[in-house]
């Protein structure tokens, strides 16, 4: 029998970036808030200390900081006519577990989306006419504008201490920054990172071709910084262990460093680790959430009643909880009915390697997760799509994120895959190869979606999440086009050899690409085509709010977390200023 606890005002499911932000904001508003985290508590000291935290085998290869597929499997297929199979280990993406979530082992590349990304359908119809968007692309507007979100982007960047150079301040273009970005109300709180050698080579070549290179906005600290809540972060020393690792230097923004100290100081907030939420409980009529059920560290089933339930369990995990709890109608690709699970999307990642002679030493064992030089000329609708026959784009960047000994060996095409020749090639090219990434958008189509698996269940008896996904033809054309531009830049960088790695023939769940899973609980202005309203509130169960990238109707060509953070603050404000005064739908359907 489950134990039922005393009710609280708010229960947060998951304590990563979004859980941390809402814990602070809502407990400060006087609400009693409980944060349930399936994993354990961990802090810079003692959990992330050197040299153990640089163990590439343990963290990068064996995924110790990440969701355990044996406990919570994910099944995958490319199309609805296939049978989905469970992943034995994580591959394509790496969701986090334990306090801080994926925000502990992220890179820290902290972008804003373009103003046109939020009005994707309207924007394209206005610029190119009604028939321009291919019929099999289910792109739609977000129900929110860049201008509305701007103050929240600005705040999240200050909370994180992002280092960068503005390209557009209140409509005036700024030298050195990204000229395509939406107008910013202020400069970045910190200066950009020192650009790496490969970034400098990239920047020079790109500028020579008429593009505008700029430093990638970074959550790796560029100086000592105290955020608006009094939390101090320390300067990054470019050790190169951000992606897939936790930072021992207090130098990478995370929920632990930036928001949780303030939340934990507030007696209204209780952090409860080792509590795995299995379901959101609904009233008999299904119109109200009464709280959540979780299994605690000792295996006891516990019910936590609450007035407001906020899903912060990482985008796609939120979708699964909604499907299992019956919040909204599950999407069925056969009939097109239902919205929960619809418009799952991903990111189209491709890359170019530039191989240099041995006297060009790039020293890429140094680096930082967000140390990069980029151009945005081919992102979103920053270029004329009229004659091209596709939508979308991506940024092109030379990143220096730390070339690790086990996973960091690029060799030219034609090199044997193992043996003495391969080893010789690795030695020859390790310090002399620059990488260019194309970080592309992925737009949605009707057969890409999330559902509950009919066969496989997790350790708690809940059906596994089933992902059905392949790149739409549109994305392939886009990715090839932008990759060709990256090849041209690579050529101008002056190496002796080039190679390009393009999208796989079919999307594969095995090789790592990015942890930018989006959609499934998308936001919008119309309950007929979205799961949550513009305040990220469920249309069907208005005391449930949904956080994370699952609310993106489609995935722009940037990393997601800048917008995830901004939307969390946007939701917090709506709850504090409107919902508490008049609990109920914030948007009338």
């Amino acid at each position: 029998m489950a134990t039922t606890l005393r009710p609280v005002d708010v229960v947060l499911v998951g304590m990563g970036w979004t859980g941390g932000i809402l814990a602070k904001e809502l407990s400060e508003a006087g609400l009693r808030v409980v944060g349930l985290e399936r994993g354990r508590v961990r802090q810079t000291v003692p959990d992330f200390q050197s040299p153990a935290i640089h163990d590439e085998l343990r963290y990068a290869v064996r995924h110790e900081l990440m969701q355990n597929m044996k406990v919570e499997p994910i099944t995958f297929r490319n199309t609805p006519d296939q049978e989905a199979l469970p992943m034995r280990q994580l591959g394509s993406f790496l969701p986090g577990t334990d306090l801080g979530g994926a925000g502990v082992h992220w890179n820290g590349q902290t972008w804003r989306f373009l103003p046109s990304d939020f009005r994707l359908r309207s924007h394209h119809e206005e610029r190119y006419g009604k028939g321009f968007i291919p019929e099999d692309l289910t792109v739609q507007d977000w129900g929110i504008t860049y201008e509305e979100l701007e103050p929240f982007y600005d705040h999240f960047e200050k909370v994180c201490g992002i280092g960068g150079k503005a390209g557009n301040l209140n409509g005036t273009l700024q030298p050195g920054g990204n000229p395509f970005e939406g107008p910013r109300s202020g400069e970045f709180p910190n200066p950009p990172m020192k650009q790496a050698y490969s970034g400098a080579l990239f920047g020079k070549a790109a500028a020579g071709l008429g593009y505008t290179p700029f430093p990638v906005p970074s959550a790796n600290m560029t100086r000592e910084y105290t955020n608006p809540y009094g939390a101090t972060l320390k300067p990054c020393n470019y050790c190169g262990y951000c992606e897939r690792f936790a930072c021992e230097h207090f130098a990478k923004s995370s929920a632990q460093l930036c928001v949780l100290p303030a939340a934990l100081r507030n007696p209204n907030f209780e952090l409860r680790p080792l509590c795995h939420v299995t379901r959101v409980n609904l009233s008999p009529d299904g119109k109200r959430a009464t709280g959540v059920t979780y299994v605690d560290g000792q295996g006891r089933e516990t019910v936590q009643p609450a007035e407001i339930v906020i899903l912060c369990a990482f985008g796609i995990n939120n979708v699964r909880l909604m499907l299992w709890s019956g919040i909204g109608q599950a999407y069925d690709p056969a009939t097109g009915q239902g919205n929960v699970g619809r418009n799952y999307s991903y990111q189209t990642m491709s890359s170019v390697n530039v191989f240099y002679p041995e006297d060009v030493r790039l020293n890429q064992f140094m680096g930082a997760g967000a140390l990069g030089t980029a151009i945005d000329d081919y992102n979103g609708d920053n270029f004329d799509h009229g004659p091209l026959g596709f939508l979308g784009g991506g940024y092109i960047a030379a990143y220096t994120t730390g070339l690790r000994p086990i996973q960091g060996h690029s060799v030219p095409e034609g090199t044997p895959r193992w043996g003495a020749e391969w080893k010789a090639a690795v030695r020859r090219h390790y310090n002399h190869t620059a990488g260019i990434s194309v970080h592309g958008s992925s737009y949605t189509r009707p057969t890409n979606y999330i559902s509950l698996d009919p066969t496989y269940r997790d350790a708690f008896g809940v059906p596994a999440m089933r992902i059905t996904y392949d790149f739409p033809e549109n994305d392939r054309k886009m990715s090839d086009f932008v990759t060709d531009r990256a090849l041209e830049i690579g050529k101008a960088m002056g190496g002796t050899q080039l190679s390009a790695s393009r999208l796989d023939k079919r999307y594969s769940i095995v090789p790592y690409q990015t942890t930018h899973n989006t959609g499934g609980a998308i936001m919008g202005a119309d309950p007929g085509s979205s799961v949550v309203n513009r305040y990220l509130q469920s249309w069907d169960v208005p005391n449930v709010f949904v956080q994370g990238a699952c609310v993106y109707p489609q995935n722009p060509g940037y990393n997601p977390t800048g917008t995830v953070g901004a939307l969390a603050y946007w939701t917090a404000k709506a709850i504090k200023e409107r919902y508490l005064k008049d609990p109920g739908p914030l948007v009338r359907a």
Binding site: T44, P46, Q49, S50, P235, E248
Partner: protein, 259 residues
Amino acid sequence: MRGRGPSWPAALALATAAALPALAQQMGEPARGQAPPLHERVTRITGPGSLPPPGTGLVQRGQYVMTSGGGAGIGGACLSCHGVDGAGDPGGAFPRLAGQPAGYLEKTLREYADGTRPNPVMSPIAKALSAEEKTAVAAYYAAQRAPYARPPDGDPSLLQWGAVLNAVGSAERGVQACQNCHGPAGVGIPPNYPALAGQHAAYLERQLRLWRSGERTQQTVNLMGTVAKGLTDQDIKALSLYFATLRPAQDATAAAAPR
């Protein structure tokens, strides 16, 4: 300076006696006994005030700067204070240089020269050394091994606290663990991070105070400044004692050798 440095001939005699076997090996020459005495070689290879010709091993060229003072002249010869083997002096003014990363030593000389690290003794010497001489002498001391004498433990609780700060720092006060940058047991991480193990306690103590007060700083991110400002006097004593009691990495030579 430490009184007056040993006189030139005395220093050279010292150099010959103490360093010859190691030097002979580094120069790829037959072992001890077969090589001519050091001073003969120094004068044979070079004219006064100039480096041995290009093509001569970097360490060998550095050895010349160490004994002759290079562009700084004989009064600036490194060995008179730091010793031929770079063992330094427990008094605190002359750090142990043996086995330090060459990149770190070279950068330090540049910082003395450009005033980033002001020091009335070292600044004029560093200014007078050419860029090439800096590189060479840094390589020379990076390649040295020097005897290590463990200082007395002192107060055990102080030593223990130094070990704690090294391993986990103090999150409350914004002090990072030393070993996050300086490597486990203070071995140093070439090319940037100096070894702390076996460094003289008085030197470490003085430097930490300089970092804390802002008199010593860095042009790029001031990593040590932000750490040191969270340290109390007691912390500084504890850390200095702790690192001084750690045996220097025996095989620093391999790690520090320039390519």
